[in-house]
Symmetry: C2
Subunit: 426 residues, 2 copies
Amino acid sequence: MKIAIIGAGYVGLPLALAFSKFHTVTCYDIDKKRIDELQSGHDSNQQHSKKNIIRKEISFINDKDKLKKKDVYIVTVPTPIDENKKPNLNILRSASVLIGKVISKKSIIVFESTTFPGCTEEFCIPLIEKSSKLKFDKDFHVGYSPERVNPGDKINTLKNITKIVGANDKNTLLKIKKLYKSICKSIYTTNNIKIAESAKVIENIQRDVNIALVNELGLLFDKLDIPTNEVLKAAATKWNFHYYKPGLVGGHCISVDPYYLSYKAEQKKYIPKLILSGRKINESMGKYVANKTKNLMLKNKIKLSNSNIALLGFSFKDNIPDIRNTKIIQIYDELKKQNIKIKIFDSIVSKNEVKKCHNLSIYNFKDLKKFKYDAIILAVSHNQFLRKLTYYNKFYKNNKKKIFIDVKNNYSSYNFIRNNYKYFQL
Amino acid sequence: MKIAIIGAGYVGLPLALAFSKFHTVTCYDIDKKRIDELQSGHDSNQQHSKKNIIRKEISFINDKDKLKKKDVYIVTVPTPIDENKKPNLNILRSASVLIGKVISKKSIIVFESTTFPGCTEEFCIPLIEKSSKLKFDKDFHVGYSPERVNPGDKINTLKNITKIVGANDKNTLLKIKKLYKSICKSIYTTNNIKIAESAKVIENIQRDVNIALVNELGLLFDKLDIPTNEVLKAAATKWNFHYYKPGLVGGHCISVDPYYLSYKAEQKKYIPKLILSGRKINESMGKYVANKTKNLMLKNKIKLSNSNIALLGFSFKDNIPDIRNTKIIQIYDELKKQNIKIKIFDSIVSKNEVKKCHNLSIYNFKDLKKFKYDAIILAVSHNQFLRKLTYYNKFYKNNKKKIFIDVKNNYSSYNFIRNNYKYFQL
């Protein structure tokens, strides 16, 4: 089979690499720089090695014309939100129009991008029809198979997970199923594209709501002076308790997908209050961490203005360079309002990207020692940050006022107390 | 050890039976009828057999004076809510006052009743001190060990589960731990009563919120004409998805405990919006089921007034006689407004109790055949109701308008369609 993949990011690249073991794969991205790096065998997302990327069965292209005459087109482009937290379908629109220009009769198109139920049939297919002048279901066929990529996860890989495959007609469903069966151990089929779309979006919503719940509990227990992490640890001894931990929710999935479904819901005049109140809590956590930091500094008689803070970590997730929707920026912005001087350390993210997106400079972790601080905020648990607590002693301006904000609960409270730290943990 | 258990219900009885294998147990209940039945070896909750109940090491009493001179007092009384959904602590108050009257120096009191964090120390202990004229921590000691009883569950029994034990001083903690170690395989200790109280209440809150989420999704997908159960089944193929199903949330735990925590939260001027919006959704589901039933009847040209409905099941949970906070009454009340004639069938619940609490008559399931109906609502999945769908054919007034409301998704939609049923599933 000749497979074209539209989008060479976190979803498209592993898919292209997997399919290239059994098929001829053309992997297209609109970003020339991304294609250049992949052609040279480099993945700036740090997920795949040069040895795996450079294979003769796979070509990375930036030239649309080379997308013609393929059997299957798989769309893996991002589906972000705009500044009003509404779906930004521009990239999906461009991809659909592009596909219309390159497909031929009998082509099969599979969408993997996360979206709201109905999007494939009501938004993408009409665009393809218009741009191709071909008829859906007669000339070309469409399926939906939601990506379940979990960057950094070595267990739940594309090969190991169950892949949902949806198409409205049996024939297309069987063809797409067969295709994915070559690269995934387990396939789950549904004869309704909307079911496949819905399944994907609710997976991330469930995660978002569960994190929001422990965040809400954390905000309350903080007021009651009860250690949230101890409560969760105790509750987790119940056979059916899900051990979520409070935290910042960033990234391109969990902090985005709920808005896709609520967009569709609001079109139908239904306000999903539970989902939206979960979002609201999770959106507030960066500011909350900043406020707890300020309060702890004030309580320890540190003047905020011109004080110095080391902020460790900028990506949205541990050991990943991905900075999309990182909530660390909320902490930064809130502290900046008080004229606090903040240095951000992260050796994993791309300094250029942070400069471009946020106009901020990022230091390497090894440069932490060049300065002294009034407070340290450990915001992301990159492996490089996970030292013994005493390692951080030497970076404080005043060793009696060692303020440490342990956002992700890496240390036991016992450890903080024994080492005379003033601390806050989510 | 001489152990007294205050409250001989779903929590107290199994505890008394378990302890009686190693200790002498006195099990007290304020309800004379309950004590009478237990003395004769009968458990109207249908959880324990006569052989297990009648043991020489256990005495069931209704006489407070016989509670004196025990080593340990364990409180397992109910903690319900009042009509405003605020904690009704009357029973806990009475139990605390009673304990104050019967304890002596060195007594240990353990509370198992679910409550809000702080309740044991701020509400119960002062009552005991006042009533006993003894001093907490000096004369008597207190711990908290939340019950995790799951009626009908043969796997997660008192013996098999991890039991949380909390006490603020090490000595008491060790004593209570040792006590429970005799009957539970695994003990989790915490040196903070509030942590133990909080852990219990959040377990049920997490369950309530997760059911509320799938209910919210169900309400939305219904508007989008997408089958919720199919979406959940597909999503459940993800490695970290929790497979909750939409439904009515009744009973004395999940539908009650969130109000205990929100009561405490509101005292601290914190409104737990996520938890409360979950509650609101779950509280609305009975009415929703009734409305879907009415709409389906109208759509099939059945006049509501004087129509006949068979409502199968009245308890809050499958195969359990417990009717506390059953949400079936919401379905009943809503349908009654349209002058619909409803017969409720349930051979498991106590007919007297339903008469007393709701002034309703309950029929045995075998009497279903005595009448004919316009619609059948299968609201609780008691084993006795789970027949082949065609079994229900003969009970319809008009076999072309077989309306079946499958609240708990017992049948596949394929089955409904094949057998020409008009159906609704949550």
